[in-house]
């Protein structure tokens, strides 16, 4: 019997310094939207930090106090087929520092488009094993400022990403492992020279690529999903923030965070869902030690000719 999976939509912030939606949410979970169904999701999020790491040195900074990011996001997920989905997302962000003189910044961040494919699924007794592949591309929706970290809303890079997801289900419990490679294009800053670990005379900044690794596990049924996750972001290269310097777009930004995620569809109106998550950064490098949460609503439109009513 074929289970109908609903996509899990959750807000994922990839950095403490910048709430980058390095990749939209559902490109990370082991769920598919059914054929000719469209999920429209809206969410709001908040995260903040007071401590951050300059390289490995953890500190606070009274000149910025607590740096917070509010976000609102629109996401779409359409089932071209039950094993092939296309997703799109666009967040709006607003940053603020509670102390010092620095102005917050706000605006639309990156547009992301992802194609998610479930090429292989097999049952072994009570276990179902699925493999997914996701290809994605995100690009800044406008030329927002990337040279005033930590107040910037993003890093301004075009990101081409490839992700593999392996998912094991035993009755209503699942374990999902995923890894992604993020190829990040170089970015242009407004300055004609900048210092990393040496002086570089150019507007162009070499952006190191990055990887994202995630483990999710929990309970998954038709109307309720509850999971715990560990998420790691690692930059392959880049450099450390020097003592008392400002962060820079091509820093080596690493973070490991843990979180909880839940999603619930109404039994009487199964096309309407609510979801939320909360997370905390445990370790990092050149990022803020952020804590964040998110809440959202989604609604599923069914465009299939004969809707199979449950």
């Amino acid at each position: 019997m074929k289970k109908k999976f609903y996509p899990l939509l959750w807000c994922f912030f990839f950095l403490g310094f910048i709430p980058i939606l390095s990749h939209a949410q559902t490109e990370q979970d082991a769920l598919m939207m059914g054929e000719r169904k469209l999920c429209v999701a809206g969410s709001v999020g908040y995260n903040s930090w007071t401590n951050y790491w300059e390289g490995t040195f953890k500190r606070d900074n009274e000149n910025i106090g607590r740096v917070s990011t509010k976000s609102a996001m629109l996401m779409l997920n359409y089932g071209i087929k039950s094993n092939l989905n296309i997703l799109a997302s666009l967040p709006y962000m607003k940053t603020k520092a509670t102390q010092g003189t620095l102005s917050g910044l706000g605006g639309f961040q990156d547009v992301g488009v992802f194609v998610k494919w479930l090429p292989w699924q097999k049952q072994f007794g009570r276990q179902t094993v699925s493999l997914f592949a996701v290809g994605g591309y995100s690009t800044p929706s406008n030329k927002y400022n990337i040279d005033l970290l930590p107040m910037c809303i993003g890093l301004g890079s075009n990101i081409l990403s490839g992700r593999l997801i392996a998912d094991v289900r035993v009755s209503n419990f699942n374990l999902t492992l995923s890894g992604a490679y993020l190829h990040r294009s170089n970015v242009e800053i407004d300055r004609s020279a900048y210092y990393t670990d040496h002086q570089i005379n150019s507007h162009e900044v070499k952006m190191p690529d990055a990887g994202n690794f995630q483990l999710r596990t929990g309970y998954r049924s038709r109307l309720l999903i509850a999971e715990a996750f560990v998420d790691n972001m690692t930059t392959f290269g880049g450099f450390d923030i020097r003592k008392n310097d400002m962060p820079f777009v091509s820093n080596q930004m690493n973070s490991t965070k843990v979180g909880l995620e839940a999603k619930h569809y109404l039994a009487k109106l199964p096309s309407l869902g609510f979801h939320a998550n909360a997370w905390r950064t445990l370790a990092g490098r050149n990022v803020g030690q952020a804590t964040g949460f998110m809440a959202g609503v989604d609604y599923i439109f069914d465009f299939s000719p004969k809707t199979a009513k449950n």
């Binding site: 493999l131 210092y195 002086q199 570089i200 005379n201 003592k243 008392n244």
Partner: protein, 514 residues
């Protein structure tokens, strides 16, 4: 199985995609080899800034090119230049763009490296970098704008004075370059008609080394490496023999020591002031019925170099400083100030992308080569188009950087004379789009530096004078857009910069180089 194969194939394609090259071509990568349109052979008669006479420098007469000593040196050069490694070729290609130019880049690199305010201690006071212990945190120096302006100036002046002296001796001894003595020698750089003894490159290397050892002692290893590379490149490329280099290196160092004597007594040593002075500045401002500046940093940081305004200028006498200092800014409680604050507030509350670009482009804050460095970079990109001789390169930088140092002196003198508040201090609604520097507002440093630099560069390259002034205006505006300065700061800063530069221009008219 087929699907797995497809997956693998996609994976391979993806890997191929991400392996693309991200390397950056820097704006200074394409600088051509130095090939002056004029050798400026008579530059021995140009007016130096600090040294007084070639008689102060015992440069020995060189051995004639017919002597066996010279012939031996010639053989050495032939041997060295005939078998070059890739690394030696890289070094030749780097230095052949010009000695003065490359040292200017090295300076900008070191200024940016050291331009970070020290991190506070446990007790919330700030440590002070110590020249006596330059390697300990906070490493010496903290190359903030005044420190940097003075450093660029002294290095440029030492290079220029050294080259003027070198030209005097070149003219006196008239020793030919090795490739003119021996036609079979093919140098790896453009040939020059200029006499080879003492070598210009060695003079600049020696002078730069001595100056920078004083100004950036923690980077002695890097400075030494660059100076040695430069001197070696002259041998490897067949441009000079060893005695040309030795004489030039010594001359450069001697000249630098004269400049250092001056630097050590110019008042920089006491520029940081002390708690008594910091309090007095505040009290004097209150006594005038004005709102004093206070540090907007947490923990509160002592003001940056409050007595730098008493440093001895290069272009005019310290007694002229009060006359150049602009009149008082609008009073903190005046209607005029309210109007100017509202203007700044409106900029910060409506940050357009274009204004933000201007703020970022001219920010030149912590971790950068500072506004004086930025104008050196602008000047460099312009100078390479004109195929100057080394001595003219040096003269132009010296004029530019002397006016930037004096701009720093006047600007700091004015800032601490009026000691007035920053816009965001008077109106907390103003949130800035770049970091607020830790010193009083009036007058704007960026504006003073830019006004001075644009005027000097406009004199040197009249065809671009209008563009340089437009850039200075933009640099000045950037500080209003960023919420750092109000309009009076910027206007008075630009005007003061122009005034200071006029001294440099007057000097340039009669220094013998025209």
């Amino acid at each position: 199985m087929k699907k797995i194969f497809t997956l693998l194939l996609s994976g391979i394609c993806f890997t191929y995609l991400i392996s693309c090259d991200k390397d950056i071509t820097e704006s200074n990568a394409g600088y051509p080899a130095l090939q002056p349109v004029k050798t400026d052979a008579e530059a021995g008669n140009w007016s130096p800034f600090i040294v007084s006479s070639p008689a102060d420098f015992p440069v020995p007469a060189p051995q004639p090119t017919s002597s066996s000593a010279y012939q031996q040196e010639l053989q050495e050069v032939k041997q060295l230049s005939s078998n070059l490694t890739d690394e030696q070729k890289r070094i030749i290609n780097y230095w052949k763009a010009g000695s003065v130019l490359r040292w200017n880049e090295i300076m900008r690199n070191l200024v940016a490296k050291h331009n970070l305010p020290p991190y506070q201690k446990e007790d919330n006071t700030y440590p002070v970098p110590s020249a006596a212990n330059p390697f300990a945190y906070p490493t010496f120096p903290f190359s903030n704008p005044p420190y940097a302006a003075r450093a660029y100036a002294y290095v440029s002046v030492a290079q220029y004075d050294g080259l003027v002296m070198a030209h005097h001796f070149k003219d006196e001894f008239k020793r030919s370059a090795p490739y003119q003595v021996d036609n079979s020698l093919n140098p790896a750089i453009p040939k020059s008609e200029l006499a080879a003894y003492p070598s210009e490159d060695a003079v600049v290397a020696g002078a730069s080394f001595e100056m920078m050892k004083l100004l950036f002692p923690a980077d002695i290893a890097y400075i030494t490496k660059m100076a040695e590379e430069e001197k070696s490149y002259r041998l490897w490329s067949g441009a000079n023999v060893r005695s040309d280099i030795v004489a030039g290196d010594s001359l450069g160092r001697w000249v630098a020591r004269k400049v250092i004597q001056r630097a050590k007594t110019d008042g920089m040593g006491t520029a940081g002031g002390n708690p008594a002075l910091w309090t007095k500045l505040e009290d004097d401002c209150k006594a005038k019925g004005e709102t004093p500046w206070y540090s907007l940093e947490f923990p509160k940081r002592p003001p940056m170099l409050p007595a730098f305004g008493n440093v001895k200028p290069l272009l005019f006498s310290p007694t002229e400083v009060p006359a150049i200092r602009p009149a008082a800014p609008p009073s903190a409680n005046s209607e005029q100030m309210r109007k100017e604050l509202d203007e700044v507030l409106s900029y910060t509350q409506n940050p357009t992308r274009e204004r933000m670009r201007i703020v970022n482009f001219w920010a030149d804050g912590a971790g950068t080569y500072t506004p004086p460095g930025h104008w050196n970079a602008i000047a460099t990109d312009e100078f390479v188009k004109h195929q100057y001789s080394e001595v003219r390169w040096a003269r132009n930088y010296a004029l530019l950087n002397a006016s930037l140092m004096d701009a720093a002196i006047l600007c700091w003198n004015t800032k601490y004379f009026y000691f007035n508040a920053r816009p965001c201090q008077l109106d907390p609604k103003i949130k800035t789009l770049t970091g607020v520097p830790n010193f009083p507002a009036y007058i704007s440093g960026h504006s003073t530096f830019s006004g001075a630099a644009a005027t000097v560069l406009g004199y040197l390259i009249p065809a671009r004078a209008g563009e340089f002034q437009a850039m200075a205006q933009e640099a000045s505006n950037s500080r209003m857009y960023g919420g750092i300065h109000y309009r009076s700061d910027c206007q008075a800063g630009l005007e003061t910069g122009h005034k200071i530069a006029s001294y440099a221009v007057e000097r340039a008219k009669v220094d013998g180089a025209n």
